[in-house]
C-alpha cells in the first residue's frame, strides 16, 4: 500500500490553500454601489398591504406603499399622500391630498383611490388588521379629486393615526388581489423566495431626494445570533432586532453602532371567568408580587426597564410618574390583598407561556418564583407558540405571559390589549371585568381636546390600576444595529419602533 502519511497530510494542507482564492470580502462592493444590505428577522409570510403579517413584513410594506400620513423621526404624524388634515364643523375628518403623488404604474393618487382603499379595508370580506376601526367610518365622501371627507359613526379623535399604521396603505384602485400598486419610495424588483428581497428606488416618488440609497437588499436571518454575526462580519450593513445579549458587543465594536427604543413590553394576562383571577384584588396581588428588575436583568440582559403600571410611554403627555409606579413591588401588600380576597393561604394555579421564545419562558419563570413567594404556586405550561395562541384566545388558562407592542404611543393604541370587552384574543386578558378602564378608553377616543384627553387617560390609568385588565412587567429594548457609515436612520420612539422601517427611505451611507 503506497498511501503514506505524508501524502495524506499534504492533501489536508492543500485543501484549505486551494480554497483561499474564493475567500475574500465583498463587504464593501455593494456599499460602494449604494445598496443598503439589511438583515431582516423573518421572510414576510406575504406582502398583502392591509393584512398584519408581522413587523418585518411591515418594514418592507412601509417602503413600497404609502398612506395618507406616516410617523416622522420625532414620532409625530406627518403628511404623506395627504398634505393636511383637519376636523370640519360637523366632526368629520377632511384630508387634502398632495399634488404630484403617483402610483408605481404612473397614475396619480386621487380621492377615488383613497375611498376605494378604505372600502377594501372595511369590507365585509376583509381580513385587514384595521378593519374594525375603519368600520367606524360611516361613509367616505369625495369632495373633489384631491379632497376626501370621512364621516364616522361616532367621534374618532385618533382617526388620522389609523393611516399611520403599517397595515394601512392607499393603493391604486387598479390593484388586483395578487398585484398591489402602491406609491412608496421603493419598488419590489426581485426576491429569492424565503431568503431575500430587493427594492429599487421609485423615481417618481413625490418627495425630492428620497430615497437616499440606490436600493435595499433585505436578507433574511431568522436566527438572531446569525443575524448579529452577519452584521459583525460585514455581510450586511444593518440589522433589526439586535439580540439583547449581543447589544453590548455591537456597542463595543468600533465599526458598529446601536440605536434602541423601549417600546414593546411584557405583561401578565388573566382568565377572568373563574376564581381566583375574577377577583381584582387577586390580580392586584400579582401586580405587586413581582420584582421587575429581575425580569429586565435575566430575560433582557439589562436591556429594558421595569414596567410597574399601565404601559404608557414615558415622555408622552399621558405619562404620570406616580401612576407609572402604581403596581410597585410590595410583597407585603400583595399578601394582604390575597388575604383580603380570602386566599391568605395561597393557592395552586397554572401559568401559560411558550418555550418557543426565550423572553416569554424566562419572564414566566421569574414570575413563577415571585408568585410562589406570596403563596401562589404556579404550574408552568410552556407549549409551542401556536398552541399558546390557540389556548389564549379560547381562555384555556389561568394566567399567561405575553409580549406585545401597542399600535402607537397614544393611549388609544392600548385598546387592543386593555379593552377586555373586545372579542377574545390571545394578546389580552380573557373576559376580565374592567368597565371603568374600557369606558375611559372610549371617552378618550371621542374627545378632541388635548388637555381633556390627558385627564381622561390619567383617569383610565387609575381605573386600570384597580381593575387590572393586565399587569405590566417590563419594557424591552428594541435595537437596530448598523455599520457606522450608515446615516439618517431613526429608531422611532416607544411603540412606534416597529414602524421605523419607514426611516430607511432617508437612510444613506455617510
Amino acid at each position: 500500500m503506497t498511501i503514506s502519511r505524508r501524502t495524506l497530510l499534504a492533501a489536508g494542507m492543500a485543501t484549505p490553500l486551494a480554497t483561499l482564492p474564493i475567500l475574500g470580502r465583498p463587504a464593501f462592493a455593494q456599499r460602494a454601489s449604494g445598496i443598503l444590505r439589511y438583515g431582516l428577522s423573518a421572510f414576510p409570510p406575504n406582502l398583502q398591504p392591509w393584512v398584519s403579517t408581522g413587523a418585518s413584513a411591515g418594514t418592507v410594506k412601509l417602503l413600497i406603499h404609502r398612506s395618507l400620513v406616516s410617523y416622522g423621526p420625532d414620532g409625530n404624524l406627518r403628511g404623506e399622500l395627504a398634505e393636511s388634515w383637519s376636523l370640519d364643523g360637523e366632526g368629520a375628518w377632511v384630508f387634502k391630498l398632495r399634488q404630484g403623488c403617483v402610483f408605481h404604474n404612473g397614475d396619480p393618487v386621487t380621492a377615488d383611490d383613497v375611498k376605494w382603499s378604505i372600502e377594501q379595508i372595511a369590507g365585509e370580506k376583509s381580513t385587514a388588521y384595521m378593519r374594525a376601526q375603519f368600520q367606524e367610518v360611516a361613509r367616505v365622501e369625495i369632495v373633489d379629486p384631491a379632497t376626501v371627507r370621512l364621516v364616522t359613526k361616532t367621534p374618532q379623535a385618533t382617526l388620522p393615526s389609523w393611516f399611520g399604521n403599517y397595515n394601512t396603505f392607499i393603493l391604486s384602485r387598479k390593484s388586483t388581489p395578487t398585484e398591489f400598486i402602491g406609491a412608496g419610495p421603493f419598488r419590489l424588483v426581485g426576491q429569492e423566495r424565503g431568503s431575500s428581497l430587493e427594492l429599487a428606488p421609485f423615481d417618481k416618488f413625490y418627495r425630492p431626494g428620497i430615497p437616499k440609497v440606490k436600493g435595499i437588499k433585505f436578507v433574511v436571518y431568522a436566527d438572531e445570533n446569525l443575524r448579529n454575526a452577519a452584521l459583525q462580519s460585514g455581510d450586511v450593513d444593518m440589522i433589526e432586532y439586535v439580540p439583547w445579549q449581543s447589544m453590548a458587543a455591537v456597542e463595543a465594536d468600533p465599526r458598529l453602532k446601536l440605536t434602541t427604543q423601549e417600546g414593546p413590553f411584557m405583561d401578565v394576562l388573566f382568565n377572568g371567568t373563574k376564581p381566583p383571577f375574577n377577583d381584582a384584588r387577586v390580580r392586584r396581588a400579582v401586580a405587586h408580587a413581582v420584582k421587575r428588575d429581575d425580569i429586565v436583568k435575566v430575560a433582557f440582559f439589562g436591556r429594558g426597564k421595569p414596567l410597574e403600571g399601565v404601559p404608557i410611554v414615558e415622555g408622552t403627555p399621558w405619562w404620570d410618574k406616580e401612576l407609572a409606579h402604581g403596581w410597585n413591588y410590595d410583597p407585603a401588600r400583595a399578601k394582604a390583598l390575597l388575604t383580603e380576597a380570602g386566599y391568605g393561604n395561597g393557592f395552586q394555579t397554572t401559568l401559560l407561556a411558550t418555550a418557543q421564545f426565550g423572553m416569554h419562558k424566562d419572564t414566566a419563570e421569574i414570575v413563577q418564583q415571585y408568585l410562589a413567594a406570596i403563596g401562589i404556586q404556579c404550574e408552568l405550561q410552556l407549549p409551542d407558540w401556536s398552541t399558546r395562541v390557540a389556548r389564549g384566545s379560547k381562555g384555556q388558562y389561568d394566567i399567561a405571559i405575553h409580549g406585545v407592542s401597542a399600535d402607537n404611543n397614544d393611549p388609544d393604541g392600548l385598546t387592543v390589549v386593555l379593552d377586555t370587552s373586545l372579542s377574545p384574543a390571545h394578546g389580552r386578558s380573557y373576559r376580565v371585568d374592567a368597565p371603568r378602564t374600557i369606558a375611559a378608553l372610549a371617552k378618550g377616543r371621542g374627545e378632541f381636546d388635548q388637555a381633556k384627553r390627558v385627564e381622561i387617560y390619567k383617569e383610565m390609568q387609575r381605573a386600570a390600576l384597580e381593575e387590572v385588565p393586565l399587569v405590566g412587567l417590563a419594557w424591552r429594548s428594541q435595537g437596530y444595529g448598523m455599520d457606522k457609515s450608515v446615516e439618517g436612520f431613526v429608531n422611532l420612539p416607544g411603540a412606534l419602533s416597529n414602524s421605523s422601517g419607514n426611516m430607511l427611505e432617508q437612510t444613506y451611507f455617510g
Partner: protein, 318 residues
C-alpha cells in the same frame, strides 16, 4: 435481483409513503393551533375574530376534516400537493425550489465526508495501532459527540465573525454568483460532513480490518498480487458493503436532519419552510414536504438495497 423483488419493494415504499402522509395530516389537524389566527397574529398582535373567521372560510378550513383529507389525497394522485395557507403559493413549486438546495447541501456534505472518511478509514486500518489510527479515533469520537449546531455556531464564530473570511450564512443562486454560492455552501457542508465523515471512517476501518483477516486476502497476497490491487480489488470492495449501507441510511436521515444546519447557516432549503409551516400550522405545506422527504428516504433505501443486491446477489435471492 428479479422484477418481482423490485415490484414488491416499490409497493411497500408506496404504502409507507401514504401511511406517513396520512399520519402527518391527521396528527397536524389534531394539535391545537388555527392557521388563520396564527397568520393574523404574526408579531403578537390580536386579530379581529371576524377577520379570522373570514380567512378560515377563504382557506377552506371550515370544511369537515374528512373532506379536506379527500381533497388532499385526490390532489396527490393528480400530482398536486395544494397551496400554502400563508400565501397561496403552490406547495409543489415551493418544494421544487427548495429541494435542490437541500440535496445540494447533502451532496456536498456527503461528498466531503466520503472524501475524508473513507480514505482515512482505509489508511487507519492499514496502519492499525499507529499514531494516525489513534489520533483519528479520538477525533472521530469528538466529532460524533459534539452536536451539529455547536459545530455550526463555532464555524460561524470563527470564520465569519472573528476572521471575517467567510459569510455568516445565507444563499445566493449559483447562476447569480458562482463564487459566492460556493463560499456560502462551504461552512454548512463542513457541518454536515463532520458527523458522517466520522461514521464512515469508523465503518470503513472496521470493515477493512474484518476483510483483511479473511483467507482470500492471504491467498491474494500469496499469489504475489501488488499490495494496491489486494487492497482496492479484494479488500475494499468487500468492505464497502456495510459502508454503502451506512452511507445510504445517513443520507436518508440527512434529508430531515439538515434542519439545524440549514437554520444555523440560513440556507433556504426544505427545513425553513417546514419549520415555518409547522409553527404556522400550514397543513398543505407540512404534509407536502414530509411526504416528499419520506418518498426520497424510501427511494434512497430502495437504492441502497438495489446496490446491495448488485454487490452481493445473495441478498436479492434471500
Amino acid at each position: 435481483m428479479s422484477a418481482t423483488w423490485l415490484a414488491r419493494k416499490l409497493c411497500v415504499a408506496i404504502f409507507l409513503a401514504w401511511l406517513v402522509a396520512t399520519i402527518v395530516f391527521l396528527s397536524l389537524h389534531m394539535v391545537p393551533g388555527d392557521p388563520a389566527e396564527l397568520l393574523l397574529s404574526t408579531g403578537g398582535t390580536s386579530p379581529d375574530p371576524y377577520a379570522v373567521a373570514e380567512l378560515r372560510e377563504k382557506l377552506g378550513l371550515e370544511r369537515p376534516l374528512i373532506a379536506q383529507y379527500g381533497s388532499f389525497l385526490a390532489g396527490v394522485l393528480r400530482g398536486d400537493l395544494g397551496n400554502s395557507l400563508v400565501d397561496d403559493y403552490p406547495v409543489l413549486q415551493e418544494i421544487a425550489l427548495r429541494l435542490p438546495r437541500t440535496l445540494e447541501l447533502i451532496a456536498a456534505g456527503s461528498l466531503l465526508a466520503i472524501l475524508v472518511g473513507v480514505p482515512a478509514g482505509v489508511y487507519a486500518a492499514l496502519h492499525r495501532g499507529g499514531a494516525f489510527d489513534r489520533a483519528a479515533s479520538w477525533v472521530t469520537a469528538l466529532l460524533l459527540a459534539v452536536p451539529v449546531f455547536v459545530v455550526g455556531t463555532l464555524l460561524v464564530l470563527l470564520f465569519a465573525q472573528t476572521l471575517r473570511l467567510m459569510p455568516a450564512g445565507g444563499f445566493v443562486a449559483f447562476s447569480q454568483d458562482p463564487a459566492q454560492h460556493m463560499k456560502l455552501l462551504t461552512l454548512p457542508a463542513i457541518a454536515i460532513a463532520k458527523g458522517l465523515a466520522a461514521v464512515l471512517f469508523r465503518m470503513t476501518r472496521a470493515a477493512m480490518l474484518d476483510a483483511l483477516a479473511h483467507d482470500y486476502v492471504r491467498t491474494a497476497r500469496a499469489k504475489g498480487l501488488a499490495p494496491r490491487r489486494v487492497v482496492f480489488v479484494h479488500v475494499l470492495r468487500n468492505a464497502l458493503n456495510p459502508v454503502v449501507t451506512v452511507l445510504g441510511l445517513h443520507m436518508g436521515t440527512l434529508l430531515g436532519g439538515t434542519v439545524l444546519v440549514e437554520y444555523v447557516f440560513n440556507w433556504p432549503g426544505m427545513s425553513t419552510p417546514l419549520l415555518r409551516a409547522v409553527e404556522g400550522r400550514d397543513y398543505p405545506m407540512v404534509v407536502g414536504i414530509v411526504l416528499t422527504i419520506s418518498v426520497l428516504f424510501l427511494l434512497i433505501n430502495l437504492l441502497v438495497e438495489v446496490v446491495h443486491a448488485l454487490l452481493d446477489p445473495r441478498i436479492a435471492h434471500s
